[in-house]
Amino acid sequence: MSLLKVELLNKTFSSGGIWGGSRKLTHAVNNVSFSVARGETLAIVGESGSGKSTTARIVMRLLDADSGSITLLGEDMIQLKGAALRGKRKHMQMVFQDPFASLNPRMRIVDSVGEGLRVHAADLNRQQRRQRVAEILQQCGMDDSIMDRYPHQFSGGQRQRIGIARALVVSPDLLVLDEPVSALDVSVQAQILNLLKGLQSKHDLAYLFISHDLSVVRHVADRVAVMFAGYIVEQGNVEDVYAHPRHPYTRALLDARPVVHPAERRRNKDESAATLEAVDTDIAPAIEDTDTDESDTGCPYRYRCAQAQASCADYQVQLDQRQPAAADNNHAVACLFPLAATKK
């Protein structure tokens, strides 16, 4: 069964409303549901403001959801508080994007990496903790001689290895990785992606991998959820979604990727894809309403969608496994007029 199950998460942020201004509600996460099995990678892909990082932070309980449930290893995480929550945190750990900001500059590596052990393995003495840290650093490709050094002495890639070691030291079941390679150069990115892959099979880890990078997602993920304006608009096996996108947004996003070879410059041609026209995100993708929530309904992508029809304004966005694409009944799309399964 699935290790992590998330059902109907909702989160709304409010802003403004002081000094007589009208209060604005931003629906950052809307009815988001997904599950992650042991040893599996689910990627959440989306652009800025899509709600992917908010979702990750809610799963980690760094933010409280307005409603919904999070079940980890059969236990409802939302109800847990205080010591009980701390105990459960051992099972899920987070790796952050910025390896420069996520390590305390005044702590030695051994203390940073070993910090989680003080809570989750309190019976270890200092020497045993050191030993455990050395072991995990080695698994992350770092020599144990670095333990008494400070973060500033390391490059971005090395710091990200240290950040991964810090998450792994308490032997979690699930890693939530928020843009873990976005700040890295491509050659370093490759090293870190390989490391993550190796660690995953060694420890049978589940990854919730948050990224804006479609190529990285394709490489690392088993399944992918595409987020737009707080909704998951499409979800399925990564090969299937990339080869046969059903949601117009997914399709537009995939088409917007730069080419890999100059000979493919499609936008040299006049037919500069109508789908591209439709993806002008100069309209902020987050849906903002005033206090009256009535305009909350309808497909949030309809303003930018080439396929949009009048009925899209009344559509209750919901992932639907209708007409599964060939041989894959996990492919779901939230669209009234999904693209034909054979397209592309």
Binding site: E47, S48, S155, G157, D185, V186, S187, V188, Q189, A190, Q191, L193, N194, K197, G198, H212, D213, L214, S215, V216, R218, H219, V220, E239, A252, L253, D255, A256, R257, P258, V259, V260, H261, P262, A263, E264, R265, R267, S272, L276, V279, D280, T281, D282, I283, A284
Partner: protein
């Protein structure tokens, strides 16, 4: 033509000057896009900024070579002449659309300032030109936009405003440093389209500085690859993509996830880029190169490179084969 000739740059640090760029030569021609690609710390941004002498207040000093515009060395110009070149003949587009605009001035004020600095216009004329420029970069309702402040604009819109600013004085050359890196993928695609359109219509000579081979594949005519302060390969974009001749270029292209087979490890480059000042004699990539042997302690001079020919700084490369493949 705008020429960088044998340019070397050094960074002043508390332990003396450290070499950051060595012996780089590049030529920008009107109507052409030259891509300068490399990883962080390779010296690509310093090279680009040196065209307008932008690094000087950060302690970047020229240790050799020159940057020549209309037969005049930019490093010999006085402040007044330099101001005319900056934004006038050569404009710059930076990576960070969020920080490159001043938050306390309206879009109009900032755009009009640039226009009036370079063109002899009245306020009224400048205002009209500003609105027209915004239309050129795909921003509708320019009159209203001119009154807005940067915080009301999305990243994509800000980048368009900055591109409009760069175009304000009709420059001949554009230096674009990671112009799409901070943007979402769909906005990126639109900015790429805009840059291509403006570059073609105005026959701009563009230096496109990026870490992203995708952007190079979309826009560049020619490409130069930098590693540890040197250009290690140069050629037409087709030749370099078809048959990368330097082992570093090849490795860098192959470790992109879009090139990899699903389920197989990415062919990562082992080791790390040597820091400025720690460059070895001979080939600077040798320590990380699968082809390296004792011959690699000799350095390959760029002087022998011919213009318009696909060349690589590697003793083990058979350039003839590289070209046949291209």
């Amino acid at each position: 033509m705008l020429k960088i000739e044998h340019l070397s740059l050094a960074i002043a640090t508390s332990d003396g000057a450290k070499a950051a760029v060595s012996d780089v030569s590049l030529t920008l021609e009107p109507g052409h896009v030259l891509g300068l690609v490399g990883e962080s710390g390779c010296g690509k941004t310093l090279t680009a900024q040196s065209i307008l002498r932008l690094g000087e207040h950060q302690g970047i000093v020229r240790s050799g070579g020159r940057v020549v515009l209309d037969e005049q060395d930019i490093f010999d110009m006085d402040e007044k002449a330099l101001r005319k070149v900056r934004g006038g003949r050569v404009a710059m587009i930076f990576q960070e659309p969020m920080t490159a605009l001043n938050p306390v001035f309206s879009i109009g004020a900032q755009l009009i300032e640039v226009i009036r600095l370079h063109l002899n216009m009245t306020r009224k004329q400048a205002e009209m030109r500003a609105a027209a420029l915004l239309a050129d970069v795909g921003l509708q309702d320019g009159e209203r936009l001119l009154k807005q402040f940067p915080d009301g604009l999305s990243g994509g819109m800000r980048q368009r405003v900055l591109i409009a600013m760069a175009m304000a004085a009709e420059p001949d050359y554009i230096v674009a440093d990671e112009p799409t890196t901070a943007l979402d993928v769909s906005v990126q695609a639109r900015i790429i389209d805009l840059l291509r359109k403006l570059q073609r219509e105005r026959q701009l000579g563009m230096l496109l500085v990026t870490h992203d081979f995708g952007l190079i594949a979309e826009l560049a005519d020619e490409v130069a690859v930098m590693y540890a302060g040197q250009i290690v390969e140069r050629g037409s974009v087709y030749d370099v993509f078809q048959k990368p001749a330097h082992p570093y270029t090849r490795a860098l292209m192959n470790c992109r996830p879009e090139m990899a087979k699903k389920g197989e490890p990415l062919p990562a480059i082992s080791g790390q880029v040597p820091a400025p000042g720690d460059w070895p004699d001979g080939c600077r990539f040798a320590a990380r190169c699968p082809l390296a042997d004792s011959d690699c302690t000799q350095s390959v001079a760029e002087d022998a490179w011919q213009a318009d020919v696909h060349m690589a700084r590697c003793v083990h490369v058979d350039l003839a084969a590289g070209e046949a493949g291209g």
